[in-house]
């Protein structure tokens, strides 16, 4: 911990990135069939990724690990900020009670109903259980490795989605949010709740994109994304243990023989025997 504070090089790079990013500012690029929302958060994420690219050797592995530790602490400041936005809007949040409750169900089953059939169709085996029962952030990873072991097929699936999420979850959600927002089908507040996926950086990026697309709703977007994300974070572990994971396993056993590919079915017998 002590050494992560003293790594001035790391902090200096962050300061420079922030200055450059904020100076460029937010940009909306119309693609004709949707809008690409670009803003400081995304620039610094991408630039940071380039700086830490292993073959450049600009940062040591140790420094990257420090950056990850600092990220965990820094995120708490963002949580505090979102909390101060929620307080004055409590009434508005309560008024949206039912929507808030139902969108939460959407967060948990959305990964399964879309992900599991496609995973099976692509020929994945039991990996698909770990990969699709949640968005596979740290708490979900812990649940899977406790139940199946980190080296099991389920654990590998979960870890795979975890790594992909770390690498491009924030970018992807920002692009998706900007895109869905510009289609004009869903209300900015509904989309904001969608942004509360249960990962801080992904929520920040997705709600940031929505704020760029709907500047007049910026305040509400942060409030509702924050409220949804808080719900997902608090309830997440329990819902995953008692609801998402059992449902995913059941659905897998049902669907695997129907849409699963041959080699998967063979592997399935192997594990059962």
């Amino acid at each position: 911990m002590k050494s992560s504070v003293r790594d001035w090089k790391l902090h200096l790079i962050v300061l420079l990135l922030v200055i450059v990013g904020e100076w460029i500012g937010a940009r909306k690029i119309n693609l004709g069939f949707g809008v690409l929302a670009l803003f400081p958060m995304l620039y610094v994420l991408v630039l940071g990724g380039i700086i830490s690219w292993p073959s450049f050797r600009w940062l040591k592995e140790e420094q990257m690990k420090k950056a990850a530790t600092i990220l965990g602490i820094a995120f708490l400041l963002f949580v505090a900020k979102l909390g101060t936005m929620l307080g004055p809007s409590l009434l508005k949040i309560f008024e949206a009670g039912w929507s808030l409750a139902f969108q939460e169900i959407g967060h948990f089953i959305g990964t399964i109903i879309l992900g599991l059939p496609i995973a099976l169709w692509l020929g994945m085996g039991r990996e698909s259980i770990g990969a699709t029962f949640s968005i596979d952030r740290e708490p979900n990873l812990a649940i899977i490795s406790e139940k199946y072991g980190a080296d099991s097929p389920e654990g590998r699936g979960a870890l795979g989605v975890y790594v992909c999420g770390t690498l491009f979850g924030a970018i992807y959600l920002a692009l998706l949010a900007g895109f869905l927002g510009s289609m004009g089908i869903l209300h900015p507040i509904s989309l904001a709740m969608g942004a509360g996926v249960g990962s801080g950086s992904m929520m920040a990026a997705a709600s940031g994109a929505l704020a760029v697309v709907f500047p007049e709703h910026e305040q509400d977007i942060a409030v509702f994304a924050g409220a949804a994300n808080l719900l997902t974070t608090i309830l997440g572990t329990y819902i995953c243990i008692f609801f998402s994971l059992p449902i995913t396993v059941r659905l897998y056993n049902r669907l695997a023989p129907i849409i699963g590919k041959q080699p998967v079915a063979a592997k399935e017998e192997e594990t059962n025997a």
């Binding site: 995120f75 936005m85 307080g87 004055p88 770390t166 959600l173 869905l180 509904s190």
Partner: protein, 146 residues
């Protein structure tokens, strides 16, 4: 602990500078807000530490922040106004900069993944975002809110 305080102060400072460049709020104007946000974080940590059971500090930090800016708390409007000087995006930018700088360590494990898991990841993120937004929208429409 001392190092954690140093880190969040440093990030607060960087955020204030970003807020200045990106949102034209002078650092002096934003200073009370960031001090309040840092204080909330520390109080949340304190609560997490003294509680006899293990719990995520995210929960307590959120609750403290929510409580002191909610209408029932004395001085809430001043606290809310001061913290509002700091744009939420300006606070998220340095955090994502650290996130970016940590990405390099995951490239090796990424290379070992099959393309299938990459596709599934994107589908999973699309699913959780889209279905939550859709469900919220359906309830709002049933209630006739928009």
């Amino acid at each position: 602990m001392k190092d954690k305080v140093l880190i969040i102060s440093l990030i607060g400072l960087i955020a204030v500078i970003g807020n200045w460049i990106g949102y034209q709020v002078s650092p002096i104007e934003a200073l009370p807000g960031i001090i309040i946000i840092i204080a909330i974080t520390l109080i949340g940590w304190g609560i997490t530490a003294i509680l006899p059971f293990k719990s995520p500090s995210v929960v307590w930090i959120s609750l403290v922040a929510l409580l002191i800016t909610s209408p029932i708390f004395p001085g809430n409007s001043w606290l809310a106004e001061a913290t509002a000087k700091l744009n939420f995006m300006a606070l998220a930018t340095p955090i994502l900069a650290y996130a970016g700088l940590s990405l390099g360590k995951d490239i090796e494990s990424f290379k070992r993944l099959s393309w299938r898991i990459v596709v599934i990841s994107l589908v999973v993120y699309t699913g959780t975002f889209f279905f939550a937004a859709l469900f919220a929208e359906i309830v709002f429409r049933i209630q006739g809110r928009f």
